[in-house]
Subunit: 171 residues, 2 copies
Amino acid sequence: MRGDPWLSDDQQRVWRSYLALHALLNERIERDMQQASGMPHAYYLVLAMLSEAPERTLRMSQLADLAQMSQSRLSHAVARLEEKGWVRRTPAPDDRRGQLATLTAAGYDQLVEVAPSHADTVRSFMFDPLSDQQLAALGEICQVILDRAGHGSATDEDADEHDEDAEVGTA
Amino acid sequence: MRGDPWLSDDQQRVWRSYLALHALLNERIERDMQQASGMPHAYYLVLAMLSEAPERTLRMSQLADLAQMSQSRLSHAVARLEEKGWVRRTPAPDDRRGQLATLTAAGYDQLVEVAPSHADTVRSFMFDPLSDQQLAALGEICQVILDRAGHGSATDEDADEHDEDAEVGTA
DNA sequence: CCTCAATATTTGAGGGTTCAACAACTGTTC
DNA sequence: GAACAGTTGTTGAACCCTCAAATATTGAGG
């Protein structure tokens, strides 16, 4: 039903390392976030993306793209963030189907408060152990895989260009 | 409250790539699994770990360690896998607190049926794009980080040695 | 204008995960 | 051997995510 399955022994080993790595990292990030702000990491990313957008405002669908989540997931997420007072939703002026999500002042404050400990977690866990060469190698590895994702055998990708502008920072 | 936070620009870029990569990979794996077997990837790992154990049987706590989940999570998971008839639970003979989880024949069949497409997803997405050097580099990167995890600034790790023996394969 | 397919977003149900509390048992210590 | 701390595993509530269905709107064509 597809091309030759199975992983080589080397691939197996690396795959298990990758799984272990991610499990551990994720656990720490989520614990950290939960402690610091009572929200999951995914919600933090939503706030971060908004903070980098002009007017700290984005259409729901763009925000979903940037935060890499489904529209449904985002809708639930923003509902919750709105309850907390960190995001506000207003109807889009030009398209009456749309909604604009805006980061509130309280949301921005929250982001600023949480960011340092999050960044520290990521840096100390993931990056401190790596040499400069390894950091570069990891960057290229991710890029190669991402670039090739979409050709493979699956759905599709619409590939917006990236948009460097670190207001508060992803990590 | 911790050592110098913030990521360098390079680290930021790599971190975002990593996030994008994982989001995409995870999405495909989960979609694949759900389609092929109606269970999440985490449950597949539980079956896989059992398949590699002597007698296809493990104490709940060992299984939780190997599958990298909390006991609570595993308990819920095994409850569900038991409903599906893929795992059976029996009281441990030596310790009356304990439970043994055993992979049933049906569970093994399920694993064998699902494994190829899963392996193919992982290989084609993650490994096909990589050169041999990149595969090796990735392996080392994961190892370095994992080795240093536990010293860092966090909780603790008990570090069991690994245990090569691919009955059906993690991926 | 009317219809129809496509887009944008929300909703609710179903299931997964976490966290804290609990129940049962073990091993040690006095 | 009674008390107690520690281990093993389960439970229920709260929350998050997915999927499919619903709602509202747009834009293209006839």
